[in-house]
């Protein structure tokens, strides 16, 4: 049996009386690569933000390694998850070099008011190298392309030393090439034993390394299983609703196209 990194049980988040996510249980094991899918507004982002403690749950429990997360220990435990949020306010002018952005991953570990040590700098270097962006280290972050920025965020999350990565729609606004590149990179990182939980809102073009798909529909977990099973009518309708038939015929057509 593989080792549980993260276990979420019966997590519910409410805004007033409205329930944003309801009774969701998932677990992430070492080496998992999970695609978390669902329509816009289904609760995917709320789920990962609740796990990270940015949104307070109404009920339920999040267990990270051996600790149950609560309001007091969340600040320390958060750094065990490398998080790449969806939207970053990017300003061309922002006075941050790539290396400085990656270094943020070490800041929490180094401790308040302390300087980074030799060891911190070594792990920044090796994260830059692993992600293949050493040559960008001295470039202003605002000058990078969308794909390069995502790589910097992943390098930052990795040098944090976490065993788990959360990515919220990392391929948004990326062209096909950059998207492939990013997914290959994630598969490579995942092969090293790091668990990956990636929010996607589309089922096509899932990275090949994905081991499991979870579909959230109206705040509840509608499906969990292998990617092949997620491509059937039932699970697809949880994401696409009325447009499921269109999506299925599109997937079939494309399948034929690529084979010929």
């Amino acid at each position: 049996m593989s080792h549980h990194i993260l276990t979420v049980s019966g997590l519910t988040v409410r805004a007033g009386r409205r329930s944003l996510i309801e009774d969701i249980s998932i677990s992430v094991n070492e080496g998992d690569f999970i695609a978390l899918m669902g329509a816009n507004g289904s609760g995917k982002t709320t789920l990962i933000r609740a796990i990270l403690g940015f949104v307070r749950p109404y009920s339920g429990e999040v267990r990270l390694f051996d600790s149950i997360i609560n309001r007091r220990n969340i600040k320390g435990l958060r750094s065990m998850i490398g998080y790449v949020p969806q939207t970053l306010r990017i300003d061309f002018k922002m006075p941050f070099l790539v290396r400085e952005v990656v270094a943020i991953g070490r800041y929490g570990l180094a401790g308040t008011g302390r300087r980074l040590t030799q060891k911190d700098h070594a792990s920044i270097d090796s994260a830059l190298e692993e992600i293949g962006i050493s040559h960008l280290a001295e470039r202003p972050f605002g000058h990078l392309s969308g794909g390069e920025r995502q790589k910097v965020q992943i390098a930052r999350a990795i040098c944090q030393g976490s065993h788990l990565l959360f990515l919220d729609e990392p391929a948004n606004n990326l062209d096909m090439g950059a998207q492939r590149d990013l997914f290959d990179l994630l598969s490579k990182v995942n092969a090293r034993g790091i668990g990956v939980l990636m929010v996607m809102h589309d089922i096509h073009d899932l990275p090949s390394g994905v081991t499991r798909a979870i579909i959230i529909s109206r705040g509840r977990k509608g499906f969990e299983g292998p990617v092949e099973d997620a491509l059937k009518r039932g699970p697809l309708s949880l994401i696409y609703g009325d447009r499921t038939d269109d999506v299925i015929s599109w997937i079939n057509k494309r399948g034929k196209g690529s084979r010929s």
């Binding site: 600040k75 958060r78 306010r89 061309f92 006075p95 941050f96 270094a103 943020i104 800041y107 308040t112």
Partner: protein, 270 residues
């Protein structure tokens, strides 16, 4: 010019330029990079209101300004914490309300209003040694926090959620920024006055942001521009008998203009 520098009043004013000009401009880097221009405006006008209340009821205007800033940051902190328009409109209402109240209270004062007018327009040349001393205290507090928490502050400036996710005590750092802003604003009310003080929060940091991609350089340049603006204001107002605050504002605007024209970042947008 030489005898000018030996004047006690001028020495005090020079110290105030150094402490206030640099201090405000350093805090301005946070205001610019966190995109909170209204934070400075709202705080400086609350400080103005507090000082006017102090004058009217016969206690120290500086103490009034500090208390008002502390009280207003209880509202301003959480308000600015909310992203987007809602936060800016709350701050804008707070700013206009405190300015209105300050003017209303001033109209209630008897006799000459020169001291109250100083609070609005600033009068760096009449600043006293204890006032300059307090400003120095505020300045060294801000610089001390900056040096001690530099890496945490830079992470929060990059992105608050990312800072939090890497295990930084992001809220503590955020409120340290707000409190330092309040402290330095209330202490330097005398330099440019309540109406124009936010220009020292915004102009030097914006000018510095045109010129560098390095955060450390941005802090240094911003402090330098703030100091130059204040000293220019000081000298011109002494020689030509002009209102100091107005000259400081013009000087910092000219610095911004030149930084913008010669910015290596220009023409790269989008």
């Amino acid at each position: 010019m030489i005898e000018l520098f030996s004047l006690k009043a001028f020495q005090n004013a020079l110290l105030a330029s150094l402490f206030g000009g640099c201090g405000l401009s350093v805090v301005g880097v946070f205001v610019i990079l966190m995109d909170l221009p209204f934070l400075g405006i709202a705080m400086s006008h609350s400080a103005l209101l507090g000082a006017v209340i102090g004058l009217l009821f016969g206690f120290n205007p500086l103490a009034g300004a500090i208390i008002a800033c502390a009280l207003s940051s209880i509202v301003i902190g959480p308000a600015a914490d909310r992203s987007g328009t809602s936060s800016n409109s709350i701050l804008a209402i707070l700013f206009s309300a405190s300015m209105g109240a300050a003017f209303l209270l001033m109209s209630l004062m008897d006799g000459p209003k020169s001291e109250a007018l100083n609070l609005i327009w600033g009068s760096i040349l009449t600043i006293s040694r204890p006032e300059a001393g307090f400003l120095g205290l505020a300045f060294f507090t801000v610089i001390g926090l900056l040096v001690l928490f530099y890496k945490e502050l830079s992470a929060v400036l990059f992105n608050r959620e990312i800072a939090a996710s890497s295990g930084i005590k992001e809220r503590f750092i955020y409120y340290a920024i707000i409190s330092s802003a309040g402290l330095i604003i209330s202490a330097s009310l005398d330099i440019v006055g309540g109406l124009l003080i936010f220009t020292l929060l915004v102009n030097p940091a914006s000018a510095a942001n045109q010129l560098t991609y390095r955060l450390k350089t941005m802090f240094l340049l911003s402090a330098l521009f703030g100091f130059i603006s204040c000293v220019t204001g000081l000298i011109f107002s002494y020689i030509f008998d002009l209102p100091t605050g107005a000259v400081i504002v013009i000087a910092s605007s000219i610095i911004f203009l030149f930084s913008y024209i010669f910015s290596p970042k220009r023409g790269h947008e989008g």
